[in-house]
């Protein structure tokens, strides 16, 4: 019998740690102390999550969960995602310090805000109750609104923050209304209870279908999936570059976990209710349509971009489409693939954004693709790293992006979504054009005055770690899969 506090260690550590960092800032106003404490807290989150990962599912199921009243899910998938979020927070902190210093805007609140966002994400990954899920989504989103408008004297940063705030709170309204209807239909907020109610057919099918639909709208907004993706490019473009990487990897991964949590409890259940309006296959077909549209629209819009940051923003919309395939598959294999792709995507996208933020130098210069021409002469290492990330994003072996896509495609095909896989293949072929285009610009185009933005300090760590991650996951994907000693 394990104590519940041991299982909840990652949650407690990050929650207390984030408040501690906030207080340290208020008490000492020392940038060094705040920065290094934040790093320690995130390391603690990763290590404690790794520690809880060793417990078997059966042991965790027997544990006494009276304190959380069964609203929190421990171990297994949530621990894997804790590690991913801790990694995302760390990479962001390393990259953002230098970025903020270059823009004369190193305010300690940035670090504690990143930590608070990680708290929200961890709560989402651990939620076994719809209320916990909503709390996590809100905590994360509110922090993101603030981080988006971090450069409050830049006009388009303010525009992005306001847009994100208004549309985001609207989406949260959808999510909450959906939760209310699901509660009205099944009489419970605990996801495992809801799943039992659905299996026994003891619920109101109309309310449940509408509730699920509304929840899907809310979560698809947070993921930036097709009909609700319009905010994404503006927000990722307007926020500080080091933070955009955080928004579109960890933030997206968190919203996808929310979808996984709902899907594994609701969509993967066979119901005995005859008048089930939105049965599992219909819901999955709708999600498949959303996923197909997302990847095609995202990649086609990215084709036309001249600004590197906007290009990466649109490509992140497309990647959300790929990851949705794992949820459409709605099998254990599909959810594994989602976790794997989230991890790979974290490394490649944060790395790419860190480089963009470094080359941007100061006051948003050097943002066009043409500015990257002949980068290999002034910054050969940076150019090579960027090429790695671009190849990985395009899904070319031996980088992690290839295996990420491979697992997603296999999961989708096994669940009978061959057509979706074909669309995904076509979409990733389209995406090669702009990923490889950037590499060609860096290596084979001449530039009279190629950019030189000095030496890297903190960003070096982010880029190095990202490259190690991308290559390790690419040549030894089974290392990560070894973590999955659990079933969903």
């Amino acid at each position: 019998m394990i104590n519940e506090f041991i299982l909840a260690l990652p949650l407690l550590l990050i929650a207390i740690g984030s408040i501690l960092v906030l207080m340290l800032d208020a008490a000492t106003r020392n940038k060094q102390i705040v920065y290094y404490t934040s790093i320690l807290v995130l390391l603690g989150l990763g290590i404690s999550a790794g520690y809880t990962l060793q417990f078997d599912v059966a042991i965790i199921a027997q544990a006494d969960k009276t304190i959380s009243a069964n609203t929190i899910f421990y171990g297994g998938m949530s621990a894997v995602f804790d590690i991913i979020f801790a990694m995302g927070g760390l990479l962001t902190l390393f990259a953002s310090r230098e970025y903020l210093q270059r823009n004369y805007k190193e305010i300690n609140e940035c670090y504690s805000l990143v930590l608070l966002a990680v708290v929200g994400m961890v709560v989402i990954a651990h939620s076994n109750s719809l209320i916990m899920l909503f709390l996590g989504v809100e905590l994360m989103s509110i922090v993101f609104y603030i981080l988006t408008g971090f450069f409050r004297n830049r006009e388009h940063a303010l525009e992005a923050a306001l847009k994100y705030f208004i549309l985001g709170s609207f989406a949260s309204g959808f999510l909450l209304y959906g939760i209310a209807l699901i509660y009205g239909s099944t009489g419970s907020l605990i996801l495992s209870d809801i799943s039992q109610q659905i299996a026994s057919g003891n619920y109101n099918s109309i309310y449940l279908s509408i509730g699920l639909g509304l929840m899907t709208v809310g979560l698809c907004f947070k993921v930036a999936a097709f009909p609700f993706h319009q905010w994404a490019p503006d927000v990722y473009y307007g926020s500080p570059t080091a933070i955009s990487g955080f928004l579109c990897t960890s933030g997206k991964a968190a919203a996808l976990v929310a979808l996984v949590v709902v899907a594994k409890n609701v969509l993967s259940v066979e119901t005995s209710n005859v008048n089930y309006l939105l049965e599992s296959t219909t819901a999955r077909n709708i999600l498949a349509g959303i996923s197909a549209c997302t990847m095609i629209i995202g990649n086609l819009s990215a084709l036309a971009q001249k600004n590197v940051k906007r290009m990466l923003a649109y490509s992140s919309v497309a990647h959300a489409g790929y990851i949705l395939m794992g949820i459409v598959a709605c099998s254990t294999e599909g959810f594994y693939a989602v976790a794997f792709y989230c991890a790979v995507y974290l490394f490649m996208q944060v790395g790419a954004f860190a480089i963009v933020g470094f080359i941007e130098f100061r006051d948003e210069g050097n943002m066009l693709i043409s500015d990257y021409a002949d980068l290999r002469t002034t910054h050969p290492a940076l150019a090579a790293a960027m090429a790695c990330f671009m190849l990985s994003l395009a899904g070319i072996p031996p980088f992690g992006g290839f295996f990420g896509k491979y697992f997603l495609f296999v999961a989708a095909i096994k669940s009978g979504y061959l057509w979706l896989t074909l669309i995904a293949v076509v979409a990733s072929i389209i995406s090669m054009y702009f990923y490889i285009g950037l590499i060609l610009t860096m290596y084979f185009k001449n530039n009279e005055n190629p950019i030189n933005v000095g030496k890297m300090q903190g960003t070096k760590l982010t880029v190095a770690l990202s490259i190690i991650g991308v290559i390790l996951l690419g040549i030894m994907p089974n290392v990560f899969y070894g973590l999955f000693n659990f079933t969903f």
């Binding site: 408040i19 906030l22 207080m23 208020a26 008490a27 009205g184 109101n204 309310y207």
Partner: protein, 144 residues
Amino acid sequence: MLTDFGIILLFLIISVLFVGAGLVTAALLRPSRPNPVKNSTYECGEHPWGGSWVRFNPRFYVIALVFLVFDVELVLLFPWAVVFKDLGWFAFLAMLVFFAVLVVGLAYDWAKGYLEWDKPSPQTPKLEDLVLPKKIFHKQQKDS
């Protein structure tokens, strides 16, 4: 048979009807003698002046935010206080943790100086800035 949601819907309909009926009856029965003073906005006896969409000082937002922290606290505190005896020590400890988080918020505000009321420091223009530079002044004198 009405479900629980059906009863709520019934309440909604009745409340709309109730208010609507009151307004319609009043409109039918009351005499209508408008004059400018009667139609002006009620401002507690003050003379109404200007539009309501004016900019106000951002320091009010800080006060509102700090107030919000403790406002929400009260909402959770009242139900807890009612059943506090039956819930026992566990609920007491849980509430203490909740308070601790709130106090951290207050302490943060205090340490960062957000509880200080920002006194405006108006910049009174200096006389030499107001007077035109000598060259331009003389030029204008000559022109006129």
